[in-house]
C-alpha cells in the first residue's frame, strides 16, 4: 500500500470510466485525509456520484487506481475482498434505499448479521444505540414507509454506521428531501464529521459544504477543475468554470 500518501485514507489516481460512448470520468485524482470531510461539487452529470461509486467498488474503473482505507479497490476480484472493502467504506444514497419490508431495526441489523456474521444480540444493542444517535429512538419497530424522508435518510445513515466503517460516502443525501427535513440530516452528518469520521460528500448544499468540509473538489465534465480549502475556494475561485458555477449557485 505504499502507493498511497501516508496521511490519505482515500486516494484516487487518474481514474477513468466510460458508459458506452459517454466518458463520465476522464482522469480524476483526489486525496482525502483521515478524519476529514471532503465535498465534491459541480454541475449535474459531471461525474461526482460515479467517483463515489468507484471509491467503494460499486462501479469498476476502466483505468487508474483507487485506494480506500487500505483496500486497492481497482484490484478487487473476490467476494471476500469486496466484503472487506464494504465493511470499511460505507455509502448513503440519495433515495435512502431502505428495505421497505423490514423494520427500521432490521434494516440497521441486516448487514452486520448476514454479511459479517456478528452476534445478533450484540448487533441489536449497537443498532439501538445508533438509532438513538440519529435521534430515532422509539422508531425501531416501524417500517420505513411510515417515516418522513429525513427520518428514512437518518435510518440509512445508521444502517451504514452499523458496519463500523472508517469512511462514509454520502451521495446527494439531501437532494430528495423536503426542505424542512434537510436540516436534521445535515446535523447528523455534521456530528459525524465532528467526531472525526472521514466523509466524502457529493452535495448541492453549498453552504453546508463550505461549513463542514475541510476540502472542496469541483468537478466538471469528468475532470477535477479546481480544489482547495473552502474559504479560498468559495471566496476566490480561480478557474473560469468554477466562477461561473458559483455565480449561478450562490
Amino acid at each position: 500500500m505504499n502507493s498511497q500518501p501516508d496521511d490519505a485514507i482515500v486516494s484516487v489516481r487518474n481514474i477513468k470510466k466510460a458508459f458506452g460512448p459517454n466518458e463520465v470520468l476522464r482522469g480524476i485524482s483526489l486525496n482525502v485525509k483521515k478524519g476529514t470531510a471532503a465535498a465534491l461539487i459541480g454541475p449535474s452529470g459531471s461525474g461526482k456520484s460515479t467517483v463515489l461509486r468507484c471509491i467503494n467498488g460499486l462501479i469498476a474503473v476502466d483505468a487508474g487506481e483507487a485506494y480506500a482505507d487500505g483496500h486497492a479497490v481497482h484490484k478487487i476480484h473476490t467476494a471476500k475482498q469486496s466484503i472487506a472493502l464494504r465493511k470499511d467504506v460505507s455509502m448513503v444514497f440519495q433515495q435512502y434505499n431502505l428495505f421497505p419490508h423490514m423494520t427500521v431495526l432490521e434494516n440497521v441489523m441486516l448487514a452486520p448479521v448476514t454479511v459479517l456474521k456478528q452476534d445478533a444480540e450484540e448487533v441489536e444493542e449497537r443498532a439501538v444505540k445508533l438509532l438513538a444517535k440519529v435521534r430515532l429512538t422509539g422508531k425501531e419497530k416501524e417500517y420505513p414507509g411510515s417515516l418522513s424522508g429525513g427520518q428514512q435518510q437518518r435510518v440509512a445513515i445508521a444502517r451504514s454506521l452499523a458496519m463500523r466503517p472508517n469512511v462514509m460516502l454520502f451521495d446527494e443525501v439531501t437532494a430528495a428531501l423536503d426542505p424542512e427535513t434537510v436540516k436534521e440530516v445535515l446535523n447528523t452528518i455534521r456530528e459525524l464529521v465532528a467526531e472525526g469520521m472521514t466523509s466524502i460528500l457529493v452535495t448541492h448544499e453549498m453552504r453546508f459544504a463550505r461549513e463542514v468540509a475541510h476540502h472542496i473538489f469541483f468537478t466538471d465534465k469528468g475532470l477535477i477543475v479546481e480544489h482547495g480549502e473552502p474559504k479560498e475556494f468559495f471566496s476566490a475561485p480561480k478557474d473560469e468554470r468554477t466562477k461561473e458555477f458559483l455565480s449561478h449557485i450562490l
Binding site: F93, F99, H101, L110, V115
Partner: protein, 222 residues
C-alpha cells in the same frame, strides 16, 4: 327418464371428474411454479449464456399451443419407468400433469422475472454497498418485495391453467369433460347435451370466478 333426474343421477360422477380436474391443475401448477421460479431467476442471471438459455426456454413454452405440448408428453413419455427394480407407472393423467406444467413453467418464469425486475435498482445497489452477495440480496431484499407483486399474475396463470385442464380429456383422462361426454354417449339423447355441458361450465365458473375476483382485488391493492 327426465332431464333433471338424469343429471341428478350423473352429478356425483361428474363432480368427481371435476375434482380430478382440480387435482390435475394443482399438481401442474405446483410443478410449473417450482420449475418456472428457477427459470425466472435464471432469466436475470449475471451470466449471459444462462440468461439466454432461460429466456429461450421461457419463450418457447409460453408461445406453444398447450394441446400440442400435451400430445408430446402423452406420446414421448413412457407408460412406466423402472427405478431400482421397482416399476413406477405413468398413467395418462400424470402425463397430462406434465404436459400442462410446461406452459405453466413458461408463464411463471415471466411472472417471476417481471416481479424481480419491478423492484427499483437502488435496492440492489444498497445491498451491494452493504456487502450482501447477489443470492443474499435476492433472498432477503428483493424476493420478499417481489412476491407480493407476483401473487396476482400467478393466480391469473392458475385460472388460465384450470380452464385449460379439460384438454387432458382428449387423451382419455377421466376428468369432468370425459365423463360428461361418455355419459351423453350412453344416454343417446341429444336433448341432454346442453344441460350436461352446461353443468360442467357452471362448475368451472363457480371455481374460477372467485379466483379471478380475488386476483382483481389483489391487483387493485398493489
Amino acid at each position: 327418464m327426465s332431464t333433471t333426474s338424469a343429471i341428478f343421477q350423473w352429478f356425483p360422477t361428474i363432480l368427481k371428474g371435476f375434482g380430478f380436474d382440480v387435482l390435475i391443475s394443482m399438481l401442474a401448477m405446483g410443478l410449473g411454479t417450482v420449475a418456472g421460479a428457477f427459470l425466472g431467476i435464471g432469466q436475470i442471471s449475471v451470466h449471459a449464456w444462462a440468461r439466454n438459455i432461460c429466456k429461450w426456454i421461457t419463450q418457447f413454452f409460453r408461445n406453444a399451443p398447450w394441446l400440442v405440448i400435451i400430445f408430446f408428453c402423452i406420446y414421448l413419455l413412457p407408460f412406466e419407468v423402472q427405478f431400482f427394480g421397482t416399476t413406477i407407472p405413468f398413467p395418462a393423467w400424470i402425463k397430462g400433469v406434465f404436459g400442462l406444467s410446461f406452459p405453466v413453467m413458461g408463464n411463471v418464469s415471466e411472472v417471476v422475472r417481471g416481479g424481480i425486475q419491478s423492484i427499483p435498482s437502488g435496492q440492489w445497489e444498497a445491498a451491494d454497498a452493504m456487502g450482501l452477495s447477489r443470492w443474499q440480496t435476492l433472498r432477503l431484499c428483493i424476493l420478499p418485495q417481489a412476491l407480493k407483486r407476483m401473487t396476482a399474475p400467478w393466480m391469473n396463470t392458475y385460472a388460465i391453467l384450470m380452464m385449460a385442464t379439460p384438454l387432458v380429456s382428449i387423451v382419455g383422462v377421466e376428468d369432468s369433460v370425459t365423463i360428461a361426454t361418455s355419459m351423453l354417449a350412453a344416454m343417446r339423447d341429444p336433448a341432454l347435451m346442453m344441460p350436461v355441458y352446461g353443468l360442467v361450465l357452471v362448475l368451472f365458473f363457480l371455481y374460477c370466478a372467485p379466483i379471478a375476483l380475488l386476483t382483481k382485488r389483489l391487483e387493485a391493492r398493489s
